[in-house]
Symmetry: C2
Subunit: 270 residues, 2 copies
């Protein structure tokens, strides 16, 4: 996908320390790579791996990461989960099934709120993710402060590791950036029409329709005018769109586009 | 991952009509399959494909869908995007870059709110997703009512199609189910301790510490007691955990666990 030429600076302004992602004994390099890519999409960089089955470094992981090299290059590998989380302050265990442990269970949205709060204070937060086949074991869940699970369809609950990482990373960034998007509808380029512009357009349309006796019977005119105006009110028209519509009305009247002081050529632009 | 034995019925209670996912000219069967799996995770079933490069059906798609056969089996293939959305009422275009079109731009969370509102009225909602390489073209974006973009890191904005589908599907389900998770901390199995239980535990601990002259100098006792109590208050102890801790205190006192009427064996369970 091409570069976005107009990135809003608000979308870059994140002050919270991003959480670490800890993959416990992942089997496939591809999954490590796609998890790294998902992290990079949402601004996470600290990936830790406990005992990767196929060793490390992994060319398959790098290929699957689709240029998230800044995450792959700084991966840390550990022999135990204890060592992988030693420098952190708060750890979530992600799991797809109920565990008989007395820990709070959060959705990724609620978990992100706490992760961002702690990250704003520069505390180290981590999310533990389990093996492809059976997730985290009970000893690993016991290392965590709280549990995160996703609001999946209970009848199709099995998520790929990278998908679970993606949702947690997405919620983290959405919370940390307060929902700021990389781009928005540009109000500079599409300034909204003033009410005066819109009323003059309505009057123009209604005069034209009067000329062709559109409003029949005449006593229905007020009702029909209201309905027509409501249609265009809903469209939240821009200045340019009002000009375009006035050009359309003029063209349908088979009148010449009326000469104006400026922006004359805009009249029929669509 | 093993089946979850204790699924909460609340997590199944969704009344909104789920949105359709429309993939425009996807190139790789794998991406169609992983998109289908992501949909199934969050309860979406209506997958439509416009001109898949490698044709349909696709064994690669079925394999990548990891048993989301109910989605793969009902895939509809169309020759044009117009035909693919003809029966829908409201369509989002997903895009990773700013488009010079005067349409509202939403995050997946805000988009989900409207999609669920419309789905509750059984309106047909769709999300358009573009090609692997360059996304949707401008004619496809023009077919949509609004634009959805993800709150990605602007410097690493390129998402795999299935990842974009996943986040939109996740937000849809999280909104439609009002955040209901498949399981929660079971209050039945871990009923919280009463304040009386906790106060008696505190008094037990403080008596034991008095016996070993822990509180020194004596005038510091009230302050030290408050600090100790605060530590255990934060843990939001269950009845069982209070029993366990009283067993621990008794053991450290090197006293016999005091006989009680019932649940005697619970005293030292950890």
């Amino acid at each position: 996908m091409s570069k976005n030429a107009k990135i809003r600076e608000e979308a870059r302004a994140i002050t919270a320390r991003p959480p670490a992602v800890i993959l416990c004994e992942p089997q496939l390099g591809e999954n490590i790579g796609t998890a790294a890519r998902a992290m990079a999409n949402f601004g996470l960089v600290d990936l830790r791996i406990v005992n990767p089955r196929d060793g490390w470094p992994s060319e398959k992981a790098r290929a699957a990461a689709s240029r998230a090299d800044h995450v792959i290059d700084r991966v840390q590998v550990f022999e135990t989960t204890e060592a992988a989380i030693a420098d952190l302050n708060f750890v979530y265990a992600t799991t797809a099934r109920s565990r008989e442990v007395p820990k709070p269970v959060r959705g990724p949205d609620e978990a992100a709120i706490k992760a961002v709060e702690l990250g704003e204070r520069q505390h180290g937060v981590g999310y533990l993710f389990g093996r492809e086949r059976w997730g985290l074991n009970n000893e690993e869940v016991a290392l965590a402060d709280e549990i995160v699970t996703l609001p999946v369809d209970p009848d199709f609950a099995s998520l790929n590791i990278a998908q679970a990482v993606l949702v947690c990373a997405y919620e983290w960034r959405n919370t940390a950036s307060r929902g700021e998007l990389p781009f928005l509808l540009s109000e500079e380029e599409h300034p909204p029409a003033s009410k005066d512009d819109i009323l003059r357009m309505f009057e123009h349309l209604e005069r034209s329709l009067d000329d062709v006796s559109f409003f029949r019977p005449p006593e229905r005119r007020p009702h029909m005018v209201r309905n027509l105006r409501n249609i265009f009110q809903k469209a939240e028209l821009s200045q340019q769109e009002v000009r375009t519509l006035r050009g359309v009305i003029a063209a349908l009247e088979r009148r010449e586009t009326r000469p104006r002081k400026s922006r004359d050529s805009d009249e029929t632009e669509t």
